[in-house]
Point group: D2
Amino acid sequence: MSEPLVLTLSCADRPGITARVTSFLFERGGNILEAQQFNDRTSDAFFMRVEFDPANVGRAAIREGFASIATEYAMDWKLSLRDRPRRVLLMVSKFDHCLADLLYRWRIGELPMDPVAIVSNHPREAIEHTHLGEIPFHHLPVTRETKQEQEAQVRKIAEDTGAELVVLARYMQILSDEQAAHFSGRCINIHHSFLPGFKGAKPYHQAHERGVKMIGATAHYVTSDLDEGPIIHQAAEPISHADTPEELVRKGREIENRVLAEAVRLHLEERVLLNGKRTVVFRG
Amino acid sequence: MSEPLVLTLSCADRPGITARVTSFLFERGGNILEAQQFNDRTSDAFFMRVEFDPANVGRAAIREGFASIATEYAMDWKLSLRDRPRRVLLMVSKFDHCLADLLYRWRIGELPMDPVAIVSNHPREAIEHTHLGEIPFHHLPVTRETKQEQEAQVRKIAEDTGAELVVLARYMQILSDEQAAHFSGRCINIHHSFLPGFKGAKPYHQAHERGVKMIGATAHYVTSDLDEGPIIHQAAEPISHADTPEELVRKGREIENRVLAEAVRLHLEERVLLNGKRTVVFRG
Amino acid sequence: MSEPLVLTLSCADRPGITARVTSFLFERGGNILEAQQFNDRTSDAFFMRVEFDPANVGRAAIREGFASIATEYAMDWKLSLRDRPRRVLLMVSKFDHCLADLLYRWRIGELPMDPVAIVSNHPREAIEHTHLGEIPFHHLPVTRETKQEQEAQVRKIAEDTGAELVVLARYMQILSDEQAAHFSGRCINIHHSFLPGFKGAKPYHQAHERGVKMIGATAHYVTSDLDEGPIIHQAAEPISHADTPEELVRKGREIENRVLAEAVRLHLEERVLLNGKRTVVFRG
Amino acid sequence: MSEPLVLTLSCADRPGITARVTSFLFERGGNILEAQQFNDRTSDAFFMRVEFDPANVGRAAIREGFASIATEYAMDWKLSLRDRPRRVLLMVSKFDHCLADLLYRWRIGELPMDPVAIVSNHPREAIEHTHLGEIPFHHLPVTRETKQEQEAQVRKIAEDTGAELVVLARYMQILSDEQAAHFSGRCINIHHSFLPGFKGAKPYHQAHERGVKMIGATAHYVTSDLDEGPIIHQAAEPISHADTPEELVRKGREIENRVLAEAVRLHLEERVLLNGKRTVVFRG
């Protein structure tokens, strides 16, 4: 088997797309390992993800051959090596549980990523519970005055390292509209509430005050519209009247960890396609 | 064993309340079957629920004896027969799944209630999928002009039947402030979203449009502040991008059914105590 | 749009199946509405489900045309009208909650079935909480001595009514090997435990005695190997030490209802394909 | 406020126990912070847990005073400082995700434990993904021949360090009956299945082969009867036909982590009381 490839695409729906794509792959000797498609009848859009073994045909030849189909159907599309770890820039503030969780999953081979840099507005010593190892660490403090400059530094690090994804692992800083636009579709944030409930700061305290009976977490792409970006994954767990805000914070950490890790995994495996303000998520 | 009683109380917290209450019951020969208490440290309030077998002492004697303790601690309290079915007024619009579910649970002995009346703004024929049996049915249509009068009729029915609880089983009409105040603490609504997300109308369509990955339902006491009443119970379930609004409605029915039924059961068993805008829920 | 069709198939995996099937449909003018496929790498088997609008081509022509492809790939396959309600034979004992739930879902249009008969080993009067309406009811008591004959009667009713699916809605009787074989792949049972835990009788009492912290339910195809048939759907919910066996029974009813209803819906929509002793379930 | 104490007790049920215990505390100036009790009607046993501020009375005086009540009611009881971290011996094999998770929770102050030693049948280098820090590490390989001796070494380490709890964090070795008896009631194991389903080795592979639709994990006290000890906590998550055994292992790690961490937290906070082969778990 050659190195498997993954093809993702979206376009306006019309008859024959699946036949066209799968016939193309078959004719070039490709063998489909996993495939999903989705016809969104509310927007008449079509989405597809195919993992395939390209056999003896080179990736360049497939890319070239597919380009004319893509043009014909006006597709947004991407072809990439399935198993190449994606380069990821991790951003964190002083709560490091999501960072610790992502790095552990990476180290045991669960998350196919290559963490090229960690950026924090706090110094390295503040991340005291997580083993950062050899990953380059950048302490970039941020104030209202220095925000513009600090964000430029982040962009430069992303560019220098070739980061394909930025993960805000409880980064706790709001990105400027410019920064959000720059990383559009490749920056994932974890919000510690079940959006759209409890937007903004201190959501667990808001949840306690409101007296809800479940709390949750939301992983979403960052957009300039705070807490309104396309949602990738959510989870929620029951709580009781006896839970103090502190206990909600504790229970929430666990939910945040698994929601963010799942969203990052889905993105790294090219399983998340944008559908306007929503997402299409092709689980295996 | 005599008929078991249930005592619920709340008051400002101070040392010795549990000792005082349980000693009182013990001295009169009562035997505790189940007891829970909760000290809310954020509000310094104390909550308690005790099920007990009063043995040979009459309910009146216990009530009289306990009254002086209640006065001493400035308690809100209630003493009642545990197993007496509570009289319930059910209100419904044209979606009758919650009504059907509640009545089935009642018929098989799962919900300790006595459904004294059903009120709907639609005629009896509109409730075509649910066996209403002998329960008196009142068709009380409502328009902006007749709302005040219609609500007075509902209050009269509640009074005439001695209804202790009003359940809005997808009633789909907003109660006036006056009506909400009249039934304060004894009127439960099911909202078909995971509050505080998606307040107001058509929450499943809102959820679809926002692209959330879970939907839920919320049972709460009705207050004049729409969708802001104290929450009794909530549940949520995962959905996917492939779910149309219609499929969310279908999946939601099931969540609504069990959230409302659980909230009603908890209320009927005197397991829900108000704590300002929140609730204390003593599960068994 | 013509009446949509649904095509399901399984065969040994090899390159090009998806291309072949979707090209066939495209060439005949069909428009795919929803499609899923699955390559089982542990058994090298391929599974596919396609919903499509056949446009102007008749079902017979598609069937005939597809037959040669099916032969070429040695497929197990089925082509049917997507929206034609399937004929269902419901079997029940004295606990009628699953029956009531299925019938309610049917009546409001949620379950695309045509309930052609209800068979019970108890008389019609025993089903006192469920509105049976006009559905033919057959009281077929069963004893060890009459079992063979009773099962023949059930088969005759199934044959006479053209039943495509038999649902054991808490039927509480073990089918003979002969009967299980007769209805192989078209008889769904709900077992009131999270299989493979607590096989056999009184699973909630077994669960209470063992002190588990969750209970569940399992919907599976009936096979001659009791409680070992291919599983379609399962769910579980947390319980506590305070739950008596009776409370487990109550909590379990709700789980049984939704697990069975979901399994029946999936089957009716041709979303369940057999994969040896397991199932492939294509959700929407 | 003095250092809070926690009192746990169990005895045969009879009237007046709660009154007696809470009056005793009140008379000595104690202030209850949290209390739960449970009357097990199937075994006529009573269980209680009280957190209280002892005010000016010393722990010794309370212990002495309570001893006579405990004798009178033939109680099993324990009085301890609520906030003193319990000494814990952690045992691990080569899969270290549960160990990593427990240590992270400890480091951020979530788990009130003092990890006095780590024992593994693999060398320290094998635990490559977890920061062990200064915690003493003991490499104690085990073979059939050396098992008796190795277990004696474990007991000696537990004794020397004053370990109050032994946690088998995926230790993957079966304890001898002697060892299980020695650590009875103070040794927690995580089994990577939803017991009683899939006892024994490779439960995820068993689950895949059986074709279940959910997987789970079980934390239980170790007894000589393998996989049959009293269950403290369980959780389960849905899976699909597309999950390979390897993906079940990945999904399972997350469930194992949170089930074990929750069970350990509950034990450390003295919230788990033995009730024969079952447990009573007093959540806050």
